[in-house]
């Protein structure tokens, strides 16, 4: 039941170059909280439901975690619907770790702080409107626990 989220988070961690800045482009600041200060957070953003399902990120960043809160900024994004997903690579091995039964052992989260049931949040749960100018998503990593 966890296979889909593992695939989703392991694949496509290589950043695709961000879209060229345009006059009416938007910027997204991802504010992360609830972090254990170690390792790094791997963040991906998606520009469509199809890309989200296929794990084809529009952009990705790796943010080293030094404190309980961190920020990542994505620029030059065309306005539209987006979703963010991330995992906290606590041990810094570059992988989304799971236990022997395939259950994630590292925190993961989505935009809108959406949480799936025994799997990733759906596009409809995680999608948000990105407008021209400044946009913010505040995400509690491992939220609720």
């Amino acid at each position: 039941m966890y296979r889909s989220i593992i695939a989703a988070l392991v694949l496509a961690t290589v950043a695709v170059p961000t879209a060229r800045a345009q006059d009416a482009s938007g910027a997204l600041t991802v504010q992360l909280s609830g972090l254990e200060p170690q390792g790094a957070v791997m963040i991906q953003i998606f520009a469509s439901e199809t890309a989200y399902a296929a794990g084809q990120a529009a952009s990705a960043q790796r943010v080293v975690v030094d404190g309980a809160t961190e920020e990542a900024r994505f620029e030059g994004l065309a306005p539209g619907q987006y979703a963010v997903r991330l995992f906290h690579d606590v041990n810094g091995d570059g992988r989304f770790n799971t236990n022997p039964f395939g259950i994630p052992t590292e925190p993961f989260a989505f935009s809108n702080n959406a949480r799936g049931t025994f799997g990733p949040a759906s596009w409809s749960q995680a999608a948000f409107a990105l407008n021209a100018g400044e946009n913010t998503q505040a995400i509690a990593v491992g939220g609720g626990q």
């Binding site: 022997p100 259950i103 993961f108 049931t117």
Partner: protein, 477 residues
């Protein structure tokens, strides 16, 4: 159960229900036992001695765990097994008993209390659409048993980690994985503790089983995953000095559906398989077969010098209790399932297996834990249904002894507690709990294992009826 229903009807006629919580009108025949406990639990309070005198030398605490919260108004769990873990302590000292209780502070409980509704899916509960579940420990109810390890009290579930608690205050410390890469692995509510303190346990997921080996202080020594070849419902197991025994009943999880219990199918035409593993080499296995039967609980196991393995279990003809009654009991009378029969499975060195039936019925089998994995005679069971009886079987002599509490007493698990300075099995007390529906009160009883038909040595009664529990542990003073 008829007696219980009549009792309730009588009480209603007398207007006694007027003062009862509204939810009691659910008319569950299990009535008081499946009502919500107070949200903050019970502060330590003296119990009233209603019979006998406390035996000299009995000092310590009986800790018990079981589901203690079932509903928020009309929002109800779908199965007895999904209630929030409620830990009760019966502390006996200086000839007196004190009762206290507190909920395990789980993520599930925190969120549901905040939202005032049942949110999470469970064994027999569907949960709300889109319930936020990222790990089995997000739905860990910590509601099935308790054990002491490393000075902590662990509230055990079946599908996830132990929840660590302070044994004095019953405050929850939290979940801490045995090892980071083993977070959220299942750890059943039936660990087996060798006489030297070493702890064995298993956890099942599909047809794979993790075998845990912990030091006496609860620190992980080893964990290995094996494939047992069947997705059988695996609630309890058994351990001898040299072997691990994993019974695989023909109640099999063969469909992914919600709630989980609906994904199991009873295959009455298939055998009850028993996999026996060498403690030192899990690849060294033998498999035995018995006719189809259902079980929740084993007693304990031992092996003879010729290699014959014996373990007691409570056997039912099918899975009706878990699929039907344990869900409907929360709402209405779901009919009556006969109690399981105590039996002894005998696994011969030549590969044959047989089942020796005792003729006495009940559940929650308990043995003298000083003899874990070793030859012994006695096993005690509680019959909480037809006859409200505590039964003690002697496998060596074939004789049984019993005490009948009478109608309106729901008899729960009783534990062997060694008498100070004594080593014999019969030189033990049996300490356990009943829910006295007539008195609307929880009682703790102490029997002498040598003569349980004489009745309890001492009985204390609380001022209230606490929810039924499943399993417990005794911690000597």
């Amino acid at each position: 159960m008829i007696a219980r229903r009549e009792l309730l009807a009588g009480a209603a006629a007398a207007g006694a229900l007027a003062a009862a919580p509204a939810a009691f009108a659910s008319e569950s025949p299990w009535g008081l036992g499946v009502e919500n406990a107070p949200v903050d639990g019970y502060a330590p309070a003296a119990m009233r001695r209603v019979h006998g005198r406390a035996p000299r030398g009995l000092e310590g605490s009986l800790y018990r765990n079981g589901p203690g919260w079932f509903r928020y108004g009309a929002s109800s769990t779908g199965h007895w097994f999904d209630g929030d873990g409620f830990i009760q302590r019966f502390a006996i000292a200086d000839g007196q008993a004190r009762h206290s209780g507190k909920f395990a502070d789980t993520l599930k409980r925190r969120i549901e209390q905040q939202r005032q509704e049942i949110v999470f899916p469970g064994f027999g509960t569907r949960g709300v659409r889109g319930a936020p579940v990222q790990s089995p420990d997000d739905i860990n109810a910590a509601n099935t048993s308790v054990m002491m390890a490393g000075g902590e009290l662990w509230a055990l579930w079946e599908g996830g980690s132990p929840t660590r608690m302070n044994p004095e205050t019953l405050e929850t410390i939290g979940i801490r994985p045995f090892r980071e890469d083993l977070a959220a692995m299942p750890f059943t509510a039936h660990p087996k503790v060798e006489p030297n303190g070493r702890i064995w346990n298993i956890g099942a997921y599909g047809q794979r089983v993790i075998i845990w080996r912990l030091a006496a202080n609860g620190v992980l020594e080893d964990a290995q995953v094996i494939d047992v070849g069947s997705r059988s419902y695996l609630h309890d197991w058994a351990v001898t000095e040299r072997h691990l025994i994993i019974p695989l009943q023909p109640w099999v999880h063969d469909r992914m559906t919600a709630p989980m219990v609906d994904g199991y199918t009873w295959h009455g035409d298939q055998p009850f398989r028993i996999v026996v593993l060498d403690k030192n080499d899990y690849s060294n296995r033998r498999t035995y077969e018995l006719p189809a039967m259902f079980y929740f609980h084993t007693g304990d196991a031992w092996e003879d010098s010729d290699g014959t393995i014996r373990f007691d279990l409570c056997a039912s003809p099918n899975a009706h209790f878990v699929t039907e009654q344990a869900r409907t009991m929360l709402q209405q009378d779901g009919g009556e399932t006969p109690s399981a029969e105590l039996a002894l499975a005998v696994l011969h060195p030549d590969g044959r297996a047989e089942l020796q039936r005792s003729g006495i019925h009940g559940e929650f089998p308990q043995t003298d834990r000083r003899r874990q994995g070793l030859a012994r005679d006695l096993v005690v069971i509680a019959n909480d249904r037809e006859v409200s009886t505590l039964g003690l079987m002697n496998w060596r002599t074939g004789a049984s002894d019993s005490y009948r509490f009478g109608a309106g007493q729901m008899v729960q698990e009783h534990l062997f507690v060694p008498k100070p300075g004594a080593s014999g099995e019969r030189e033990s007390w049996l300490v356990g709990v009943t829910l006295n529906e007539r008195e609307r009160a929880t009682e703790v009883h102490v029997f002498d294992a040598a003569s349980i038909s004489d009745g309890s040595v001492v009985t204390w009664r609380s001022r209230y009826a606490a929810p039924l529990g499943f399993h417990g542990t005794w911690r000597g003073a």
